[in-house]
């Protein structure tokens, strides 16, 4: 039998289960889901709803990282997209126009990154850092430095609404995960991305349009960030250009890497990313649930992240394997 530990999602999944168990032991109410006003209500529902934005950003980030790059600008794109939504809705535009503009903003931002990285050969960290720094300024310019309040029930539904009692935002994000999975794994596209990430030169000589594939990954990532911006603004019914999406790029990169996608590129695990994003959100909720004082909350968070990362490392795995030699190996 193939040992389970070989699966890239084993350790993040184990971490997630361990966290949930810890919470359940502390307070069994953690797992309780009830019906309130005809919709599901409980901590697990909150984790899914709050975690859906990180999940979405991390989905796009997975593909970029799989090509061997990284996109630091996603947090700023979230802020810009939120600002665009607020201004358009305030101007009386319809929901469809607003959504199209927000996702269009993400596509545009992704195209700029893709152009710099794939066509002009700028280092991904440098290329996306430009938009990361400039993007927040753009977002503030759009809303003129103010927090703009959004009064649109249909817009708010996207983040806070329920479909047949189930929160809409996680449903939307899970559907996008499934669609991305099928688009990449049931066609050769996923293989192309991994090939480009593994060895760009070789894949180009093999006849792949390596630059185009890379650019498409950044564009997809931008679109995901744009949609996440919509969800972030809808969640609090306001566009907060200064703080929306703050440090989101780091959460997304963490979710991707913990989920088993290699930062060096050439391999991606979409399901792992989803689990990684939920792991972060569960960790945050755990701190609230256990009543860890906010000043020291980053410490247990850091410890768990270090733990999961170490367990994933092959070297540490081999070393641990040496401590408990397998009996059947003899």
């Amino acid at each position: 039998m193939k040992p389970k530990a070989k699966s890239p999602i084993f350790w993040p999944l184990a971490g997630l289960v361990a966290l949930v168990l810890l919470n359940a032991v502390h307070d069994l109410g953690f797992l309780k889901i009830t019906l309130l006003d005809g919709h599901l209500y409980g901590v697990p529902v909150d984790i899914l709803t709050q975690g859906s934005r990180t999940m979405l950003v991390a989905l796009g980030m997975t593909l970029v990282i799989a090509t061997g790059g990284v996109d630091l600008s996603v947090g700023s794109v979230v802020a810009i997209a939120g600002a665009v939504c607020a201004v358009l809705l305030q101007g009386g535009h319809s929901l469809a126009v607003t959504l199209a503009a927000a996702i269009g903003t993400g596509l545009l931002a992704g195209s700029a990154n893709g152009l710099l990285v794939a066509r002009l050969g700028v280092q991904p960290i440098v290329a996306t850092l430009i938009l990361m720094v400039a993007g927040r300024g753009v977002a503030q310019l759009i809303v003129d430095g103010q927090v703009i309040i959004i009064k649109s029930p249909s817009f708010e539904f996207l983040a806070n609404g329920f479909l047949l009692g189930v929160p809409f935002a996680p449903l939307l994000v899970i559907a996008l995960y499934a669609a991305t999975h099928f688009a990449l794994r049931r066609t050769a596209l996923g293989l192309f991305i991994e090939a480009v990430g593994d060895n760009e030169t070789a894949s180009r000589f093999a006849g792949l349009a390596a630059a185009r594939i890379k650019a498409l990954a950044y564009i997809f990532c931008g679109a995901c960030a744009g949609l996440a911006g919509v969800l972030a603004a809808a969640n609090i019914r306001a566009a907060d250009a200064y703080r929306a999406g703050e440090n989101m790029e780091l959460d997304a990169i963490f979710a991707v890497v913990v989920g088993g996608t290699a930062l060096t590129g050439g391999r991606f695990v979409i399901l792992g990313t989803a689990i990684g994003a939920l792991l972060i959100q569960t960790l945050t909720t755990t701190m609230y649930n256990l009543g860890v004082p906010p000043a020291i909350a980053p410490v247990p968070k850091a410890l768990l992240i270090i733990g999961v990362s170490l367990l994933q490392s092959e070297k540490v795995g081999r070393w641990l394997g040496g401590l408990w030699p397998k009996k059947e190996a003899a």
């Binding site: 109410g29 209500y41 409980g42 901590v43 103010q146 927090v147 806070n160 609090i236 907060d240 701190m287």
Partner: protein, 313 residues
Amino acid sequence: MKLTPWFKSFLAFVSLAAATVAPAALKIGFAQTGAESAWRTANSDSMKAEAAKRGIDLKFSDGQGKQENQIRALRSFIAQKVDAVVLAPLVETGWDPVLRDAKRAGIPVIITDRSIVTTDETLYACFIGSDFFEEGRMAAEWLAKKTGGTGRIVELQGTPGSAPANERRKAFAEGIASHPGLKIIDSQSGDFRRAGGKEVMEALLKKHGKSIEIVYAHNDDMALGAIQAIEEAGLKPGTDIVIVSIDAVREGVQAVVAGKINCTVECNPLFGPKVYDTVAKLLAGQKVERKSFNKDELFDATNAGAALPTRQY
């Protein structure tokens, strides 16, 4: 002589510079932290509007949330030989070298909003700030009166380690200490963000259920986020759960009028008049108070409606 376009523009620049120097308007440099909130924007607007009113030549610099930008701005103010410098420090430490430069150039420095920590107190002329401690104390006092001294409180803290979060937490804890019936049952950080307030409140509502009677938020943004979480849990903010907050931004006062926030203590951002009065005194060689505070008011159901139309921020 044929002038190259470059030289022409250079000449134009020099003559322009000479023209602006000619009238002896008061030149003041203001190094702002950034534009992170509605409060901050109102603070900047007050400084700019009051300068325009008094005919002061204000050099405004937006630090964009970075101390190195603010230090660079201070250096450039010193190079431009301004009459006085106003600094809203982003962080407490690391200002000594640049303040020493200002002192050597004979330019008085006024610290506003947040305080700094320095080894040499003579490096700045005075501090004009918001009394975060007094704000927390006022909130506690109001709450004790309103509830008769009993209730279970959850606290939504600001960014851990920041001066407003620290002082508002300490002052509130001291304020309710004399009322043993008022208990803080949980205290978590919403990072001064609306999304943070909502997320923390969602979690705390599940953890404590209906035993939460009072929410004390360190700013209006977090209180407004918490209100959403409370409504989504099927409860009525302001009625089922008493909400006390600080800042009194326009939207916060609106929520008081709507009965969703019970009380919000003002943190007045309109520093302009007081700062320029102080500068004028300093330059005239008069003595100024070492530490002074902007006066803050409290808004609840009794006076919010009347105050709302005149709120500038």
